[in-house]
């Protein structure tokens, strides 16, 4: 999948939704921003608070303030949530001894069963437990921008509400900027988007307010499907709200 015209500007504290049909490039967009191996940026720019991310490794992007949730979080056998967060915190000069208490507090906020902390990352967890786990990670790491890839897939209603609530809280308290990538407008009933983008064939065809999601409910993606225009990829994350 190739992205051709993605002009995104996600300011701090804003919630943006990228909506599109299957195969429109939604996951590619999430992976390209996070720097997943195999997703090459041949032209265009991705910046976070003025830092060019394109040549950075995924962990350097994380240190710049980026966070992403995966649609199907990878199982990492033998590696626990806490040790991973301790290493992540220590890598930026943080206090690893504070992580345990932070994890407990965040787990409490999103209803993540502390017994599950002893399991390996994403191993033997339900869809809801995995996303609650990712919300705990977000809470401890306090990123500036979170890319949420199909946050609502495989999630029960309670878990989706708890996780969405924690993310919205972070947008208010920590000025977290959010780019939520989703197939369905269902997500937007619990995670309220300020801006909605329509992504088709790797190109953002339309950008609007929350009413755009409502329009999509009625018309589907048909109104944009014949558009063949392309444009450069420019993604600006963080910084002052532009709305």
């Amino acid at each position: 999948m190739v992205l051709n015209g993605v002009n995104l500007r996600v300011g701090s504290g804003e919630v943006h939704a990228v909506m599109g049909p299957n195969g429109s490039g939604k996951s590619t967009l999430a992976y390209a921003i996070m720097g997943r191996p195999g997703y090459e940026v041949t032209a265009g720019s991705i910046g976070l608070n003025g830092v060019d991310l394109v040549d950075l490794s995924p962990w350097e992007r994380a240190h710049a303030g980026l966070f992403s949730t995966q649609q199907y979080p990878t199982e990492v056998p033998g590696v626990g949530l806490e040790i991973m967060l301790e290493e992540a915190v220590a890598a930026v000069g943080g206090d690893r001894s504070a992580v345990e208490a932070q994890v407990a507090a965040e787990a409490d906020l999103v209803g993540f069963d502390v017994e599950l902390l002893y399991r390996s990352l994403n191993v033997d967890l339900s869809g809801g437990e995995m996303k609650r786990s990712e919300a705990v990670q977000l809470g401890v790491l306090r990123p500036r921008i979170a890319i949420l890839d199909e946050l609502d897939s495989g999630l029960d209603v309670d878990a989706l509400a708890a996780v969405s609530h924690r993310i919205e809280q972070a947008t208010h308290q920590d000025d977290l900027g959010v780019l939520a990538i989703t197939h369905f407008s269902r997500l937007l009933t619990v995670l309220h988007a300020d801006v909605v983008h329509v992504l088709i064939d790797g190109v953002i065809r339309e950008t609007g307010g929350p009413e755009l999601a409502a329009q999509l409910e009625e018309t589907g993606y048909d109104p944009w499907i014949d558009d063949r225009s392309v444009a450069p990829v420019e993604i600006h994350l963080g910084g002052d709200p532009w709305l």
């Binding site: 191996p37 962990w59 990878t74 199982e75 990492v76 290493e87 890598a91 930026v92 790491l141």
Partner: protein
């Protein structure tokens, strides 16, 4: 012909009970009439066996230092040094239960039956200077592990440790064997016999942490009786070429054998395992899990055979071998095999050789964990599944520490390779 100092005369000169002396001489005659194995033989494929020059090694005449590795909570400990027994302790309460930990004596002639699976096991029968017997009477549960520690510090020593574990019916015991050495060139060829009588429970763990100039060619043969359970594990960390052949015979109805091992190669080590799960009775179960990692230009070989004999209906047999290749120059071979002569069985095998999982690496990195740290966490986690199942819990911290220091070494030099300089 084995043209060396390992002659029948030399075997006959080793002190010991008469029956043992006779067996030694007979075995040495067999050795003298044998040819060295060659890589042409399937069981010696992928090995450097052609480079082994037995003429460079000789039986050590004296004990040297004793193993420096402490193991907490043991109820008995036997130390050998350069093959010779140099220390023996048995807790009073364990001795009072009738448990024996001792060298072989005149009364042990019934142990003469040979279990030698290859030329080196025959050499062991001929030249093991002080075999150790661990015997647990029927119905006795032993508290705390029985530890046998082998230490080698004589340059050019040929050492043939032999341990016989004889667990009586309905008994329960855990045995730990440690192999370590100073930085000497040596040839170490151990044999372990494990006899698990009906309804007995045996845990056995071998930690092999010999120096890089040591050849280690060993075998372990176990017989598991009806309704008995054995869990046998190896942590292979040291040695230049280090090989274990493991023959597990599920001999009695309802016998269970768990074979849980790990290995980590670096430098130019070759770590080699040949396993046989032999189901010879109905309703027997064996599960094998071997996990290894190879770094630098090290190599590993795993070949395994599950054999289900015609009489072994109701067999459950599993075999899993997974390998992580940590460097371009490292190499791992994994060859599982099944030979099934009964239709009422459940058997499976799985094997894999590959680099660190890229998806796992990306997940940790996307959280801000730098590459080297993420790799270290993943490799450490890969082995946790094995360590979590090891018997002899008292020894697991020592294995874990040693394994982690090897993983640290890998992580450190990968950091240097990525970042240019270690300064």
């Amino acid at each position: 012909m084995i043209d060396s100092q390992f002659t029948p005369e030399a075997a006959g000169a080793i002190p010991g009970p008469d029956w043992l002396a006779r067996r030694r001489v007979a075995a040495a005659e067999q050795v003298a009439a044998s040819a060295m194995p060659s890589v042409e033989e399937e069981l010696w494929r992928y090995t450097p066996i052609g480079q082994l020059d037995l003429g460079r090694y000789q039986l050590a005449t004296d004990a040297g230092a004793q193993s420096p590795t402490p193991i907490p909570g043991h109820c008995a400990i036997a130390d050998t040094s350069n093959g010779w027994l140099c220390g023996m302790e048995l807790a009073l309460e364990t001795a009072a239960q009738g448990v024996e930990v001792r060298p072989l004596g005149e009364s042990d002639a019934e142990l003469a039956a040979s279990v030698d699976v290859d030329l080196f096991a025959v050499m062991n029968a001929a030249f093991s200077v002080e075999p150790v017997l661990v015997r647990v009477p029927p119905g006795v549960s032993v508290e705390g592990p029985i530890v046998v520690r082998h230490w080698i510090d004589a340059e050019g020593a040929a050492v043939f440790p032999r341990l016989i574990v004889d667990a009586g019916a309905d008994s329960s015991v855990e045995v730990l064997e440690l192999y370590g050495s100073a930085d000497v060139a040596a040839f170490v060829s151990p044999v372990v016999e494990i006899r698990v009588a009906s309804a007995a429970r045996v845990g056995y763990l071998a930690m092999q942490d010999l120096g890089p100039k040591v050849w280690h060619i060993g075998s372990q043969v176990s017989h598991i009786g009806s309704q008995a359970h054995m869990r046998a594990s190896t942590a292979a960390l040291g040695g230049g070429y280090a090989r274990m052949r493991l023959d597990t015979h599920l001999s009695g109805r309802g016998a269970t054998g768990d074979l849980i091992s790990l290995y980590f190669g670096d430098g130019d080590q070759t770590l080699d395992f040949r396993t046989f799960q032999d189901h010879a009775a109905p309703d027997t179960t064996s599960s094998l899990l071997f996990k290894g990692a190879v770094d630098d230009s090290s190599r590993s070989v795993y070949t395994g055979l599950i054999r289900v004999r015609p009489e072994a209906r109701g067999t459950n047999a599993y075999q899993t071998n997974r390998n992580i290749k940590l460097s371009e120059d490292a190499w791992a071979e994994s060859v599982p095999n099944l030979e099934i002569e009964n239709n009422e069985v459940h058997c499976s095998h799985a094997s894999a050789v590959g680099p660190i999982d890229g998806e796992q690496l990306f997940y940790l990195e996307s959280r801000g964990v730098p590459t080297e740290t993420a790799e270290r966490l993943i490799v450490t986690g890969f082995f946790d599944e094995v360590l979590d199942q090891f018997p002899v819990l008292e020894a697991v911290p020592a294995v874990r520490d040693r394994l982690h220091s090897k993983i640290e070494g890998f992580s450190h030099h990968h950091a240097i390779e990525r970042n240019g300089s270690g300064a």
